[in-house]
């Protein structure tokens, strides 16, 4: 049973990773993806982020809470999530960049938070729309 939960946890990490890659670089593939990213997907993500819970983080914690054995395991839920994330290269790079911006528990100007990645994705996609797809004059 534990293996299924670990698989689900890794699946969520992979979905999150590919979701971020799609909104960042999907616009290179076609003009429709670039338009979809800036006009639909990113505004929807912003609206979802207005909810009081973070969907991905809550799901990860829920899955870990299902299999964690507090009597034998000394690790916290966060540590288990981090351990599983570190099996992939991109979350590792993400963590290295994040740590550089984590000063005095203030993380406002981190370029790779949810919001930082959304801004970066918007910048990449609008520049692609202008210079690659010539959609904005």
């Amino acid at each position: 049973m534990k293996e299924i939960y670990i698989f689900l946890l890794k699946l969520i990490i992979i979905i999150q990773m590919f979701g971020a890659l799609f909104i960042l670089f999907g616009g290179i593939k076609s003009v429709e993806y670039a338009k979809l990213n800036v006009m639909v997907i990113i505004p929807i993500i912003v609206l979802i982020n207005l909810l009081p819970i973070d969907f991905f983080e809550t799901s990860k914690k829920y899955i870990v809470s299902k299999y964690i054995d507090y009597s034998n395991d000394n690790k916290t839920a966060e540590e288990i999530i981090e351990e599983n994330s570190n099996t992939f290269i991109l979350p590792k790079i993400h963590k290295i960049i994040s740590n550089r911006y984590f000063v005095d528990n203030i993380n406002t100007f981190n370029p790779v938070t949810y919001q930082g990645i959304l801004v970066l994705a918007l910048i990449i996609n609008v520049y692609l729309l202008k210079y690659k797809w010539n959609l904005i004059k």
């Binding site: 338009k35 800036v38 006009m39 990113i42 505004p43 912003v46 979802i48 982020n49 207005l50 909810l51 009081p52 819970i53 973070d54 969907f55 911006y101 000063v103 406002t108 100007f109 370029p111 938070t113 949810y114 919001q115 930082g116 959304l118 801004v119 970066l120 918007l122 910048i123 609008v126 520049y127 729309l129 202008k130 959609l135 904005i136 004059k137």
Partner: protein, 122 residues
């Protein structure tokens, strides 16, 4: 005395920049494009490079002399009050849209939708 004037100028400039970031696109298509292609990327880059808001740093560093501090009490930084009020409204959200990065995203979306539906340029 120069510090006082400088503080007021930077405070007003900071307010105008954020007003332009969010609502500028509604006034003209040129401003919308300026926001999208220059202002937002420049703001994002300044955050990434300096890990701080430059105008905020100027505002804080100007509190050098005693006379300035007396004036500062009389003229509070309304940008800070406005920021605390707007972030307070969205305190329970997973990601606060009134944070500096959040406001750039909101501005981006407003500008893109203005370009599409008000100015018909996309």
């Amino acid at each position: 005395m120069a510090n006082n004037s400088m503080f007021i100028i930077i405070m007003l400039l900071h307010f105008i920049v954020w007003f332009t970031v969010i609502f500028g696109a509604m006034f003209s298509s040129t401003l919308a494009k300026f926001n999208i292609f220059y202002l937002y990327p420049a703001t994002y880059l300044s955050y990434v490079v300096f890990n701080a808001c430059i105008l905020n740093v100027f505002e804080s560093n100007l509190s050098g002399d005693k006379e300035f501090n007396i004036v500062k009490e009389k003229i509070p930084n309304f940008n800070v009050s406005l920021y605390e009020f707007t972030t307070g409204l969205f305190n329970n959200c997973a990601q606060n849209p009134a944070s500096p990065m959040g406001m750039i995203i909101v501005g981006f979306i407003v500008s893109l939708y203005s370009l599409k539906y008000i100015w018909n340029e996309i």
